[in-house]
Chain length 198, copies 2
Amino acid sequence: MIPKPIKKFIEAFSQLPALGPRQATRLAFYLTALPKATLSELEKSLRELKELDRCERCFFLKQGGSKICEICADAKRDPLIIAIVEKETDLLSLEKIGSYRGHYFILGKLAEKGVLETAQKLRLEHLKSRIKSEDGRITELIIALNPTAIGDFTADLIKREFRDLAAKITRLSRGLPTGGEIEFADESTLGSSFEHRL
Amino acid sequence: MIPKPIKKFIEAFSQLPALGPRQATRLAFYLTALPKATLSELEKSLRELKELDRCERCFFLKQGGSKICEICADAKRDPLIIAIVEKETDLLSLEKIGSYRGHYFILGKLAEKGVLETAQKLRLEHLKSRIKSEDGRITELIIALNPTAIGDFTADLIKREFRDLAAKITRLSRGLPTGGEIEFADESTLGSSFEHRL
């Protein structure tokens, strides 16, 4: 009874994050009410995502044409400071602070079991050989992974592996969130906040 | 710093319901990590939505080819019972009950100010002349609009307009939801539930 194109749309789009079957269904009918030109625009923006590939240095996304991304190509940024992040959106969050002027390195989404995937191991090897061949030793390696058990586990692993390749290896600090209240902080957060008091 | 295709994707998709800028951003990066074939599938399912048009009888969506939708073409359904719904998803919800064997009529999303749009007035005129030319008078017109102020207002309007065209004009009943508790029901719901007690 549901027309086939709608069914197929729901099947395809309900696989995506932020869109369950319910949302995908509503979205499908919403889209059919839009002008066809708007639908074509959406289609085009989806199609153009396929033109992206990954920066050879940091694995962030870039448009075809150059080998490295805008950040890696930016001469005003310090290539001797590298922040390892899990995902592209973490990079964007750090960029929003506005004060970081180093480079990045995208590790890829950490699996829940905490073991690095082959692709991630290869990326880290790539980073190692890049540091070895370029500078031998960088000024700072910032491990900007989430403050979770898996983040901690991976951070320890990276610390060991890069011990000799960076003068300093740091992580993002933990503590009370701005605007938060001591009374409502969980023990682990408050513990970290106390331990690393400024 | 964000590659242009990603920016364009976020702009286009964050306009859609269920997707704010944050969700669209995450979705964009999620999509770039998928195989290109999966992206092409999504693109195709979006493109195929454009093949749909509206049933000439009830304004539900249908695939090109026939003039009327599967529901209107179904000889096992009673064309003398018509349920007026606001949106396609309301039709799907009613179909899920499994017991309704009449036809539908899609009015289109009601504006918040409660006035019918020209397109909606035209649809109602279309329904009127359809009833007049086909049967003169149908058995039942079910006004399946939401139990909201706008729904009530529109239902009253439809009741007046179709007074002579249907032997019976009904609305969905109001009352306690199954599994709900009297103690927690709002006054209006409990009031309706008492007034229309079975």
